[in-house]
């Protein structure tokens, strides 16, 4: 029985993005975008500053457009709950190269720490499985992070992982917030500089 999550979100995200290679990353708005930015400001990251509920679907579009690349969506429990229907859409579409990591602190940390449904038992991994995800799991312990990182690169199918993390006061690490810049930067890094003259 797990009572209170103990993992530190910054340590989790840093570990998941270690040796990332050519991994493409979409980060949901708020704390997960700051987590990703705290690791580095990477051109193959697309951190959202809005569009709540849309991170997983941005990931689906990217995964279908780039079938030879692995796409990792890192988002929060509140953001994923808002787009929960997209888990059914994604399970049906079944992109083998998409993986979703839900950093679950069981609250809306940005807006006053109001508890989300996951604090009361809503199980996002179980929802994903019920929607038809071939694999989903919930991670509580530090020794489960490295196997998850390996899965991101090696598992040849869609999956979702919920990582239960403690509430924490983390130093602000803000990614660039100019959406057009973020878009152009990722496309240039992924598709080459000719995108600007097409």
């Amino acid at each position: 029985m797990n009572l209170a999550p103990r993992l530190n979100r910054r340590e989790v995200v840093t570990a998941l993005l270690a040796d990332r290679g050519d991994l493409l990353v979409v980060a949901g708005l708020g704390a997960t975008a700051w987590d990703v930015a705290s690791v580095e400001d990477h051109p193959l990251d697309f951190p959202l500053w809005g569009a709540m509920g849309g991170a997983a679907m941005v990931g689906l579009g990217l995964a279908f457009a780039q079938p030879s690349r692995k796409v990792l969506v890192i988002t929060g429990d509140g953001e994923m709950l808002m787009g929960m229907g997209s888990l059914a859409t994604i399970a049906t579409a079944r992109p083998r190269n998409l993986r979703i990591a839900v950093i679950d602190n069981e609250c809306y940390a940005e807006t006053g720490r109001q508890r989300t449904s996951t604090a009361f038992g809503a199980d996002i991994a179980a929802v994903a499985l019920a929607c038809g995800f071939p694999h989903a799991r919930t991670v509580w312990e530090a020794d489960e992070i490295e196997p998850l990182r390996a899965d991101i690169h090696q598992r040849d199918d869609l999956f979702l992982a919920v990582i239960k993390v403690a509430l924490s006061d983390d130093p602000k690490a803000l990614p660039p917030r100019d959406g057009a810049y973020l878009k152009n930067r990722m496309r240039a890094a992924l598709l080459g500089p000719q995108i600007f003259s097409e």
Partner: protein, 172 residues
């Protein structure tokens, strides 16, 4: 199949729109069938329409062109997600089959149908409306060029006059 539906499909093919997402509507039935029968197209059935906005954004980030097919009632579901399009100057194309206008029988369709062009404009999209079958190809070609050439959101409203008014009861 109505000829203008085939025109839309041909423009998709010619302009390399290769990813299509939709919440179905009677007016989109034949276009969805054409796209699903095409091995070169990825077709995704959505739970709710705003997913299609985010999906199109991801597709473009990855170098592909997507279109969202929906009914006018779905436009309201998209409002906040359309922030992506304007903020990121993303090309975005949606084809909206209209309800709640010309000859509508269902009063529940009127509010969103009437608000559809206003809502899309308010979120920064350029809105075209098509009433005549002969205009569909030209308008769609212009919409695709505008969206992907000028990095903006474009909605093409396929009017109830074009697609035919839905009838729930036999006329006497």
């Amino acid at each position: 199949m109505r000829h203008w539906v085939h025109d839309i499909y041909e423009v998709f093919r010619a302009q390399t729109v290769s990813m299509v997402s939709y919440v179905p509507d009677a007016g989109h039935v034949d276009l969805i069938k054409l796209c699903e029968a095409d091995e070169m197209m990825r077709v995704v059935s959505l739970t709710t329409e705003e997913e299609g906005v985010a999906f199109a954004a991801g597709a473009y980030l990855g170098g592909k062109r997507a279109a969202l097919l929906m009914q006018s009632s779905g436009v309201g579901n998209c409002i906040n997600m359309l922030s992506l399009i304007k903020t990121c100057q993303l090309p975005f194309l949606t084809l909206v089959t209209m309800r709640g206008e010309f000859g509508e029988f269902n009063p529940w369709q009127i509010p969103m149908g009437q608000a559809t062009p206003l809502v899309l404009s308010a979120m920064g999209l350029i809105v075209y409306r098509v009433d005549a079958p002969s205009e569909v190809r030209d308008v769609l070609e212009a919409a695709v060029s505008l969206a992907f050439g000028s990095y903006c959101g474009v909605a093409v409203l396929l009017s109830q006059r074009l697609i035919g008014t839905k009838r729930f009861v036999e006329e006497k």
